[in-house]
Assembly symmetry: C2
Homo-oligomer: 168 residues x 2
């Protein structure tokens, strides 16, 4: 934790946490600036992804039980690629800048290591998402790929996406 | 076409082409040396991928109507990433070295361009799959990412995977 960070408890999400998950992820999905998913994705389709059977999903809650963040952890590939983990993090709009993503990333790295994953990879970090890129770098992630013009940003036009990786 | 290449016709696969698709992809899936999928994947699960609603699947047939190759074409990402295509190609074991992958790749690039995709990306080219890497390079693909130790090869141990990309 750093100064100004909110105290959080992490717990596994269940299928009955759909509303809490949706409240966190909906604004970012509608904005369409960070995830390569349709901006008009339905609640059902989004939750089918975030609570899919191939991943575990965690909620970051403050001391009043409010959900301030959501992340999922899964194998990035199957078969011969299943030793590399993948995560996706979302912070509630009202909690931006309070260490929620940092707490989730720290938790996910420990969790992934404990499950035996040997590395973590982010497949599509929008290069203009500077706060995220800076945070992943602080956690030891390196850019192992640059996908040229891979993302059509709603405000900024066509921008690169990054593949980021660190060993566990 | 190059000398020694077999003459092929490409046609769209339908749901009733499952057996033909499976005959082509099964040996490569069981070998587990080129795709990051479980080596023991069932026929149903494999066909659910290869004939999924999010992609179009093409068969490469020789003049006797034998299926010598299968490929799929789809958007690599949704939303702001949907202008980049992705393909997966498989050649029948008995047809290796006869230009089947070359014919499929040429077809897929034209098809993807015709559909308005602006680039094609391969997310996970096993670096030891030298024949494939050489072929994609000949088609103008560049390595835009190296995923360190991303693939556990059944014979060669842990090897890198490549992210390859070309504009359309």
């Amino acid at each position: 934790m750093m100064d100004g960070d909110v105290a959080l408890a992490l717990r596994r999400a269940g299928l009955d946490d759909g509303d809490a998950v949706w409240d966190v992820i909906r604004p970012a999905l509608r904005a369409g600036e960070t995830y390569a998913l349709p901006r008009d994705i339905s609640k059902a389709d989004a939750l089918a992804l975030w609570l899919a059977a191939d991943r575990e999903t965690w909620l970051a809650e403050d001391q009043e039980g409010r959900t301030l963040g959501v992340y999922y952890l899964k194998a990035n590939q199957g078969g011969g690629g299943s030793h590399v983990a993948n995560c996706g993090y979302m912070t509630a709009v009202e909690a931006a800048g309070r260490g929620v993503a940092r707490a989730m990333c720290a938790h996910s790295l420990e969790r992934a290591g404990g499950r035996g994953f040997r590395a973590m990879q982010f497949n599509f970090v929008v290069s203009t998402n500077e706060r995220a890129v800076r945070l992943w770098r602080a956690f030891g992630f390196e850019t192992v790929g640059v996908l040229p013009d891979a993302f059509e940003h709603p405000r900024l036009g066509v921008v690169d996406a990054l593949v980021m990786h660190r060993r566990l």
